[in-house]
Symmetry: C2
Subunit: 463 residues, 2 copies
């Protein structure tokens, strides 16, 4: 009795036309990274458990997937068996675990290879990561992340923060998922604002937690919680939220308004200066004002990012949340090295984004196959001719299939149509004699008579 073939739950497995669309998306992202000179890095799918989980316990560890060999499992079994006589026997924990993001492996990589890398170190990494999620809609146990980071040794100039939105802009313009806006803020500026409003340092985390909900929840609810939950004075909460949500998307106006802020602290001034320079630098890199927005309501997490922060939204699909996020951090690899490694980076969660855009019909399956041309086999005596013709077309840069059987032409045409191969080359005895080959364009349902010598050029023109 055969085993029922099943894809494991919680992963996105695609049929070939969708896979091709997804691969083209990854190719566009990679090309966008390479345009800015980022170098590729790949790390193994698993890391040593003690290296991966430097912060023991916590939510992250609950989601980690561990890897064990048959030998590892036997050692566990033996340890439990020995407990019968020696109750103190320790059971060995899993030695390996699957990476749950690309940031921890990057930190490990940079710390381990520090002396062989050239700083500022610019790397991109496009690989899958793993989470032991309970499978549910929109939550994946395996998904692609597409990351870039620039890592400095001791220092990293702010110019790199201004480059990041230009990378994002280039990629999402080419992906053509519709209008998008890159929202940029600065954590120092935010902290300085809270200081300026006289909010105690102990309250900052709670306030930023609420700020993070702007745009997702009603402002009045957030304001209420800031007063009743966090304990801000009502007037402070109102003014703060007004400032954070003001400007109506005009970055220059927002920055100008901040320059007039009456309670500026040194942190505030430093943050405002950084944000202004990131704004100017990004615009100088050709990112249009319409795609960039200084947005004081972007807070992003609490402990990791220390300066510039980014989120990106599709204007027509705000409810997807940010599709590309990141920021500046003080020190990448404090768990692994005493070197100070500041950096700035972003991540695109490609699997989730792709599946959502497919569901919303923003992305369709590819409308044509990898093969651009199929040579059908209408005359068994001409098999060698078909082979030579296909080789000639491949040498001319076309992706070409030759139909391999002696099925009736109707069946061959049906195969080409279902496979979405756009152009069919038909060469029978008559075409061989006249030197005029038939080309069927299955997309236009049109037929062309093409002199044999012009075939490659004409096929290319038809594509």
């Amino acid at each position: 009795m055969p085993v029922q073939p099943r894809t494991p739950p919680g992963v996105l497995e695609l049929l070939p036309p969708q896979q091709l669309a997804f691969q083209r998306m990854l190719d566009t992202i990679r090309r966008g990274f390479e345009r800015f000179g980022f170098m590729p890095v790949e790390t193994p799918v698993f890391e040593l458990t003690d290296v991966l989980l430097t912060k023991s316990g916590g939510e992250t560890e609950k989601q980690v997937l561990f890897v064990q060999s048959t030998g590892d499992l036997q050692a566990v079994e033996q340890a439990y068996a020995q407990r019968a006589s020696a109750p103190e026997t320790a059971v060995p924990g899993p030695k390996h675990a699957l990476r749950f993001d690309l940031t921890v492996p990057l930190a490990r990589y940079v710390a381990e290879h520090e002396h062989q890398l050239n700083f500022p170190f610019r790397r991109y990494q496009i690989q899958r990561v793993y989470r032991g999620e309970r499978p549910q809609k929109g939550r994946y146990r395996e998904f692609y992340q597409c990351d870039i980071d620039v890592i400095g040794k001791d220092v990293l100039p702010l110019a790199y923060d201004a480059e990041v939105p230009a990378v994002i802009y280039g990629i999402f313009r080419e992906l053509a998922f519709g209008a998008f806006t890159i929202h940029v803020n600065n954590r120092k500026l935010l902290r300085g604002l809270l200081e300026g409003f006289g909010i105690a340092v102990e309250q900052h985390a709670a306030v930023l937690h609420e700020v993070d909900r702007l745009g997702k929840q009603e402002r009045s609810e957030i304001e209420k919680r800031l007063v009743e939950g966090v304990g801000l004075e009502s007037a402070v909460a109102t003014q703060l939220l007004q400032l954070l949500t003001g400007g109506a998307g005009d970055s220059r106006a927002v920055l100008d308004a901040l320059r007039r802020f009456e309670h500026a602290t040194p942190t505030f001034t430093e943050g405002l200066d950084e944000l202004s320079r990131v704004y100017e630098g990004t615009i100088a890199l050709g990112v249009p004002e319409a795609a960039f927005r200084v947005d004081l309501s972007i807070a992003r997490g609490l402990d990791y990012y220390t300066g510039t922060v980014y989120e990106t939204f599709l204007d027509e699909h705000r409810k997807l949340g940010s599709i590309c996020s990141g920021g500046r951090y003080e020190n990448l690899a404090g768990h692994y090295t005493k070197s100070k490694l500041p950096g700035v980076g972003i991540s695109i969660g490609a699997t989730r984004l792709f599946s959502q855009l497919v569901e919303m019909k923003v992305i369709g399956a590819t409308t044509s196959a990898v093969a651009q041309v199929i040579v059908v086999a209408v005359e068994p005596g001409l098999v060698a001719t078909y082979a030579a013709l296909a080789t000639e077309l491949r040498t001319a840069g076309l992706n070409v299939e030759v139909y391999g059987g002696d099925d009736k032409l109707g069946k061959q045409m049906k195969y080409a149509d279902r496979a979405k191969i756009p152009l069919v080359v038909i060469l029978g005895e008559r075409e061989q004699a006249t030197g005029i080959v038939k080309v069927k364009d299955l997309r236009a349902n049109a037929e062309h008579d093409v002199p044999r010598g012009e075939l490659a050029a004409r096929l290319r023109a038809l594509l």
Copy 2:
């Protein structure tokens, strides 16, 4: 105290210049597959254990790596705890396991999605696979496989067997690792030969096992074992080995000699006909005789391949063994479906091949970075000009970095040199005034004065 950052043993982690060389190798392989119209497929890194391990026990299972979530580990712990009071408590086995090749996942994929696929189904898959190997030189726990397969429904014409060597030829010609030869044989022909020599069916496996060692061990040793171990008559062993190793690489001569074989059985004749047609078909596809060899000593495994078999060797590096192997099989997915799915395919073990060729200095690290051009920052007042210039060059299709700090020019040049960025654009106040930009070619240690308006074209010409 920081944790020591360590790459897990048994994996190949590369520094960025090597990673770039490896990625270019994978890109070439992918392009070679796409040239023949193969469609991409990716499967999840883990499969359900019962689906992956349809054949329970055996060598394969010993090498499988299993995946367990925190919840899975807790369930194991609980089961062992319950054994104290209920000794019969079953311990749950791991629900997921990492794929150990791409063939079993392909079988599962085709069987599961059979009704949504277009047959003959042509797919390529370039992903990593996992083995619980004891880490040692040349053995990896994680490595890339690059596979193509053509899968038929019920039948698959022999024409597809002739296409495979053409795919191999196109790829290895472009990879330029030196001269290579694709060795081709047919399992039916081999079986028919043994039948013709009157060797009992029960002895075939043992004989083919010895045949597989031709080229790796002394022929006299193999002959001795065929007689003393397997029990062939001495004259039969001699004649058989003579026939299997004859022809001196002249495919046509080997085929002609076989046509004169006196003890032809129906299986022999069918195999010889197939092998002849694969040879003719491959040559028709433009593969030169020098790169193709009918080689009767290629046996490849025992139970899986049923017709054509392929191995590929680098002529100057025979000791690497076959760098691209595969063959024709009767039925891909018998464990998962009652449909008969014959196929033909090959696999390139890219990680092992790459690491061996690096060690032998056939492959070096890339001599230039992803970035083709770096704009150095010599004048703080011109930062916006550098940004606009970089954007212009990127739009013209170049991969461009802008140096982000205000370091001295010497430090910036050292960065460019270490990063292996070939071209440096220098634009200071003087160049801004004259409209003549300086371009340094770090490879040639040459300097060029280039009019601002011709910059993109000149940089492209210099690359």
